[in-house]
């Protein structure tokens, strides 16, 4: 079947099998490999992208269902070399280790902050509850989102909470 959609502000069109998952279309047809596959069953969230402005797990959607949609992936988050505040927060607050869950985590966090740039700890944890991370224990991910929220509000982020020096 022929599908057309906008991906990262670019019009794309391709022939796909009906059963092709959106995540496989993005990764294998468009070579946008920043979106990851962690479970293929919608639990881990590594494949989270924005579909028409909402966070969606792209392994739970067929490419044909995205026909006509506006898709944004992790590759679109930085613009002209400037990191998105959430990306900057992840770097500044050590919000990632292996980095595999990170693209999906960033997409979910960016959606949260789009709606509410001053979330509580509980609201942040709830917003990323569908994105599994095995490395960080979420501590620094929550801190990274707090950092990004502060930046988006034009405030100075709280200092990091790791011990300095040894």
């Amino acid at each position: 079947m022929q599908v057309s959609m906008t991906v990262n502000e670019r019009e794309v069109s391709a022939h796909v099998e009906n059963r092709t998952l959106l995540v496989h279309f993005l990764r294998e047809e468009l070579r946008l490999t920043g979106t990851h596959v962690g479970c293929e069953t919608g639990y881990c969230g590594a494949c989270t992208v924005h579909v028409d402005g909402k966070p969606v797990k792209s392994c739970t959607m067929f490419a044909v269902q995205a026909n006509g949609a506006d898709i944004a992936t992790i590759e679109s988050m930085a613009s002209n070399g400037d990191l998105h505040p959430v990306q900057e927060g992840f770097w500044e607050r050590h919000g990632l280790q292996c980095g595999f869950c990170t693209p999906g985590m960033i997409m979910s966090a960016a959606s949260l902050l789009e709606e509410n740039n001053n979330p509580s700890e509980g609201e942040i944890r709830h917003a990323i509850e569908g994105n599994l991370c095995r490395c960080t224990g979420y501590h620094n991910i929550v801190r990274a989102v707090e950092y990004a929220g502060a930046k988006m509000r034009g405030e100075e982020p709280a200092p990091p909470d790791w011990e300095e020096g040894s």
């Binding site: 946008l32 992790i74 770097w91 709830h126 509850e129 994105n131 599994l132 224990g137 020096g165």
Partner: protein, 793 residues
């Protein structure tokens, strides 16, 4: 603004991150050479069955199928190589029988992954089911056999007290028996399950093999913690030499032990690539990962503390059975031995420790973050907590009374191993202080007075890390099966390039631990060149002459130390060159970010560019007898393992109506010696603790009595989400090791080793008003609620 500091000990922002936060890192499944074909496996639905026949004709005729292989096609390659194979290794593809659900029976290669999976479903196997061996006590008593050709399911028993000393063991047993006979003593036992876990890296395993037929050479990308072991296994299996097998572990999306194995699928993908003369890729699904990538833990046992009624511990005993699964893979039977190393923990207490390793009709067990040490610490610390509770003495006081005293020279533990350095009381005192233990107890008591079920749990642990001294290879833990040198040394190569950038090549295989940053800090500390100019290459057997990989919290202590020492040698040579060019004494030369200068003579200086240029243009070195080049390669064989330690405290609240456990506070005071990057160290602890909380509260691999795997998705096997855990309160003490030049011990597993028993101790404390003495992990609401109901009668 990203701030950096190059000093050792600074929380330098990671060099790895810019690519990863933009979706521009390369993981194995992102590698797709032109013409790649895709693999899917047909897998056993039975735990134990004879294979009467396999019909691959429909699969072979299916659309897009390139090839189908069964055991008959690959049997000539032999079994999968394994490090510590005592009895029974794994066939590459099942032969006459299958021994666990998920065992691979046939391999399909097709034009894309969808077609490969379609065709794998068309493979027809005539199975004849047999009795499955699932229960560990039944396995140990040989009610039925996993492998008919063997006399027993028991592979071996690890026994110590101390290790390797039969007379000593007999004497220890007598000492403990005598203590039990005294009138003023009690013995308190905890019979507990340390359940089977899946490590669960979020990146599934993946391998891509290219066979360069013209050169007779493999190039393999694999999501591996041990690229050199895979290189060795491939070269040995296919009869090649090390220059003809290049294994690259690019970005690896988490390890936790699941990628610390050479797997049959990796060898089979290489085989198919060679046979078909085209690139071949396999990436596991989560369901496949659940049944056919290694599991960990899986012990049942009884831990007993004998001591006086006023809190002096006189003996510790552990008698346990450990589940090895159906076949031995990489380390399998060695994992409980890692627990044995730390069987007596931080305590100067006569210890008799025995763990019997048995086959079962389940997936193989191997390393899961901590690997043997969490199990050992769990039993010991649960038993100490139960003893303290029984005699009514504060568990902190019981521990401190039993600690090995502070030592800064090698000291032999009761279990029989020389530990490097330790200061346990100072560490626990700091925990008491930072957590405000007395204040927390008052809070708990106030909550109880209000009818809330709040509890505090404490646990201490001692680790063994930094594998390893070559002497350990004599125990059988070595890379020699893979045709590589036996010891677990470390390697580091440091090269200042002509343009003053620095290339570092090391033998590790990290999966998120930040080696590019940490190693750059180590080198910068020695050379003065800023971390931004230092590129660290790891996980590539084509670059690193040799390496052992990343596991067992070994990397900084071993390969990091090799790199640190190599950088020191490069610094020495750079000073020699500068001294020659400045006509000064090398002893007076100081290095900095800019270059070299003569101490006390700021005008007499030279830039790095001139030093590097001279190194590569030897005529500038004149008659100095300095050789060209500015690099050093160091192999470091540590004289001992490292022995990190720490203490954790959890405060929890249990909802008596639902059994739900909430973690209110979690404190850690870990001691990993010198910290190269405290930010990364804290991150390792936070992730490790969460892994341990996952075991305590959520995770459990469940096979039913017929050996069907009931937990093959992340819904059935829940790992902690952001809503399951609190912010952590992280502190440390610093007791440097004296076995390497950095003074670093290792931190990757500390959090996991300390956490599970800390949480369970806290929950048991919370349930004290009900008289609950133990609840087996995972402490899911239903199980906790049932324990409350049972205690209430």
């Amino acid at each position: 603004m990203v701030t950096t500091t190059s000093a050792l000990g600074g929380s330098v922002r990671r060099r790895e991150d810019p690519a990863l936060i933009q979706g521009k890192g390369t993981y194995t499944d992102d590698v797709t050479p032109h013409g790649t074909a895709y693999v899917a496996f047909a897998r056993s639905p039975y735990a134990h069955a004879k294979i009467n026949s396999i019909d691959t004709s429909a699969a072979a005729a299916a659309d897009g199928v390139v090839a189908v292989y069964t055991n008959a096609d690959v049997a000539h390659l032999g079994d999968l190589l394994a490090q510590v194979k005592i009895v029974k290794g794994r066939p590459l593809l099942a032969g006459g029988e299958v021994n666990h659900v998920g065992e691979a029976v046939a391999m399909v290669v097709a034009e894309n992954s969808y077609k490969a999976r379609d065709a794998a479903d068309l493979i027809e196997v005539d199975y004849e089911p047999m009795k499955a061996v699932i229960d560990l006590k039944e396995a140990a008593s040989d009610v039925a056999l996993v492998h008919d050709e063997l006399e027993s399911n028991v592979i071996l028993a690890w026994e110590a007290g101390p290790w390797g000393d039969e007379e000593g063991i007999a004497a220890t047993k007598q000492t403990i028996a005598d203590a039990k006979d005294r009138d003023d003593t009690v013995s308190v036992s905890v019979e507990a399950v340390n359940q089977r876990l899946m490590p669960v890296a979020i990146e599934p395993r993946s391998v891509v093999a290219e066979w360069q037929a013209g050169y007779g050479r493999f190039v393999i990308h694999s999501s591996s913690q041990v690229p050199h072991a895979l290189m060795g296994a491939v070269k040995t299996t296919f009869g090649l030499d090390a220059t003809h097998v290049q294994v690259i572990a690019p970005e690896v999306g988490g390890g936790f032990g699941v990628k610390l194995n050479v797997y049959a699928d990796e060898i089979l993908v290489c085989f198919a690539a060679q046979q078909l003369d085209r690139p071949v890729k396999w990436t596991e699904t989560r369901r496949e990962s659940s049944g056919s990538s290694i599991h960990g833990r899986g012990w049942v046992g009884t831990a007993t503390i004998t001591g006086t009624r006023d809190g002096e511990i006189l003996g510790y005993e552990l008698d346990a059975i450990a589940d090895m699964g159906a076949y031995e893979q990489n380390f399998t039977v060695a994992i409980p031995f890692l627990g044995l190393f730390v069987g007596s923990g931080q305590y100067n207490v006569p210890t008799h420790w025995k763990v019997t390793c048995v086959f079962t009709n389940k997936m193989t067990t191997d390393a899961c973050r901590g690997a043997g040490r969490p199990e050992a610490a769990y039993y010991l610390e649960r038993a100490i907590d139960a003893y303290a509770r029984e005699i009514g003495v504060d568990p902190i006081d019981v521990r401190k009374r039993a600690f090995v005293e502070k030592f800064d020279e090698a000291t032999v533990s009761p279990i029989g191993f020389a530990m490097d350095t330790g200061d346990y009381a100072t560490n626990l005192d700091k925990l008491v202080e930072v957590a405000d233990y007395e204040g927390l107890k008052a809070e708990r008591d106030a909550a109880r007075a209000e009818g809330r079920y709040v509890g505090i749990g404490v646990a201490s642990y001692c680790e063994v890390c930094g594998f390893a001294p070559t002497a350990l290879s004599e125990l059988g833990f070595s890379w020699s099966t893979y045709g590589l040198p036996a010891g677990f040394y470390g390697t580091g190569l440091v090269r200042v390039n002509p343009d003053t950038s620095v290339t570092v090549i090391t033998g590790t295989g990290p999966s998120g631990q930040g080696h590019q940053t940490t190693w750059a800090q180590l080198v910068s500390d020695r050379l003065g060149i800023p971390v931004e100019k230092i590129r660290v290459i790891h996980g590539d057997t084509g670059e690193a002459p040799m390496g052992v990989g990343t596991f067992g919290s070994r990397s900084v202590a071993v390969d990091g130390s090799a790199t640190y020492d190599a950088a020191e040698r490069v610094a020495t040579k750079a000073k020699d060159i500068a001294a020659h060019l400045l006509e000064a004494s090398a002893d007076d030369i100081e290095l900095s970010a800019e270059g070299a200068s003569v101490a006390g003579s700021p005008d007499s200086s030279i830039e790095w560019g001139e030093i590097a240029a001279a190194a590569y243009l030897p005529h500038r070195l004149g008659e100095s007898e300095i050789e060209g080049g500015l690099e050093s390669h160091v192999i470091f064989d540590p004289p001992n393992a490292t022995w990190p330690f720490g203490s954790h405290l959890a405060m929890v609240e249990v909802d008596p109506d639902t059994g739900n456990v909430e973690i209110l506070r979690y404190f850690t005071v870990d001691d990993c010696g010198i910290q190269v990057n405290p930010m990364i160290v804290a991150g390792q602890v936070q992730g490790g603790v969460t892994h341990g909380i996952g075991q305590a509260l959520l995770e459990d691999v469940v096979y039913d009595e017929d050996g069907n795997l009931l937990t093959s998705s992340l819904l059935d096997y829940p790992i902690p989400t952001a809503e399951d855990v609190p912010f952590y309160e992280i502190s440390s003490t610093v007791t440097p090791t004296n076995i390497n030049s950095i003074g670093a011990k290792g931190i990757g597993e500390a959090g996991t080793i300390g956490a599970a028993q800390t949480v369970v101790n806290a929950v048991v404390d919370a349930l004290e008003p009900f008289g609950v003495k133990h609840v087996d992990m995972p402490l899911r609401p239903k199980r906790v609620w049932a324990a409350i109901q049972e205690a209430r009668g």
